[in-house]
Amino acid sequence: MTGKFRINGREYSIEFDPRDTLLTVLRENGFTEVKEGCSEGTCGACAVLLDGKVVNSCMVFAATAIGKEIITSRGLGDQNNPHPIQEAFAEVGAVQCGFCTPGFVISTFYLLQRNPDPTEDEIKKALDGNLCRCTGYVKIIEGVKLAAERMKNEKV
């Protein structure tokens, strides 16, 4: 089947199998920042924003994402113009192997949109769907705090 997808602000007409997940469709069309770590909704590496809400793209049928706004980590920033979350993660050492990072960035973005000044406990709960094996999460939490701080100041 064919569907029109709005990904990172651009519209794409994509042909796909009706059983494909959004993850498959995104990766096969070059959005390789969306990572496949488990394909069962348990690791969060494939997290994207779907109409503003964080979802595991492996748990979404592409057919149900047609016409919706999809944002990936690369939709938030790029190497030369990173989003404050991406910048903060890199700065504090929240990125080790980096495979899980785009997913954490998306979950963090979702949190900070809804709660610009989260407590440590709120940060941890907001990241309950993301696994990381490298960092022990310590620097990731630090990165979220730093990003929150900078985003607040930017808005002022």
Partner: protein, 276 residues
């Protein structure tokens, strides 16, 4: 490979009509279907265009449309009543990205044994509106027991009376993001130092879900000082059984359940104390 297709009905009538097709089932959030074997289905009906993602409260009765997500319920109920039982239980279910996807209708349809929705709904005496072949309004337990009710039928919504009293939720799990092994829901109202209403549900035992009448009867009409808690727990010993669970053997799980039931009771005592 056989053709697999999506249906996007624009009205409930149209959706109900599609239920006649063989091998075609409704799709809410998809989190259950996507992990199963897709070969079983010839098609999926997207419920998105049906406007079933509503949540409303009219005269103390909360109605939740089938495609409202866990996240939607937590937001709505959290804003209305703060500490209500569904906020407590659904906040513990799955993970943030999954709660944005799991729908109430899908959960009611599949009702896995580790569901964090089941206990509260039973305690709330919730009912489920069904459209299609078995159109009607059913107590949630009946739907959970009788799976055939769901065939060629569409879950439209859930209804329950808002509960304003003491709420308690416990979930036995290995980690925060885990399938629960069992869970306990307790709702209680106090009146002048005695229990006026108690609803106590255990989910995950061999009975899958059970209201613990022993506890309810042992508390209602009594003040905490008149309750023989060890006696009540002792009574339960023979009425709850478990299979082996993720946290451990059947026997061990039962021991934990009894401890946590006791803790729930004491928590309610403490709450009553606090109210005074």
């Amino acid at each position: 490979m056989e053709e697999f297709r999506w249906y996007y009905p624009n009205s409930i009538e149209e959706a109900v009509g599609l239920l006649e097709l063989q091998g075609v089932v409704p799709h809410g959030g998809g989190t259950g279907i996507i992990r199963g074997k897709l070969d079983r289905y010839k098609g999926l009906i997207s419920l998105e265009g049906l406007g079933l993602d509503y949540i409303k409260e009219v005269d103390g009765v909360v109605e939740i449309g089938a495609t409202a997500t866990y996240h939607d319920v937590i937001e709505f109920c959290g804003a209305v009543c703060g500490e209500c039982i569904l906020v407590k239980s659904l906040s513990r279910a799955a993970s943030t990205p999954l709660r944005n996807r799991i729908t109430i209708g899908g959960s009611v349809a599949y009702f896995p044994i580790w569901s964090d929705l089941m206990g509260p709904l039973i305690a709330l005496d919730a009912t489920v509106s069904i459209l299609g072949k078995n159109e009607g309004e059913y107590p949630v337990q009946e739907l959970a027991r009788n799976r055939s009710l769901k065939s060629h039928s569409l879950i439209k919504s859930l209804k329950f009376k808002r509960f304003n009293g003491f709420t308690y939720y416990y979930r036995a799990a290995r980690t925060h993001f885990d399938y629960g092994s069992f869970n306990i829901t307790m709702l209680a109202s106090f009146d002048d130092g005695v229990f006026s209403d108690v609803r106590f549900v255990l989910v995950g035992s061999k009975a899958k879900f059970q209201r613990l009448a022993e506890i309810e009867n042992g508390l209602i009409g009594r003040a905490p000082s008149d309750v023989d808690v060890p006696g009540l727990i002792g009574e339960l010993y023979n009425s709850i059984e478990f299979h082996n669970t993720r946290i451990g053997s059947a026997e061990y799980t039962k021991s934990v359940a009894l401890v946590e039931i006791e803790r729930a009771i004491y928590a309610s005592f403490k709450a009553m104390e606090g109210e005074k």
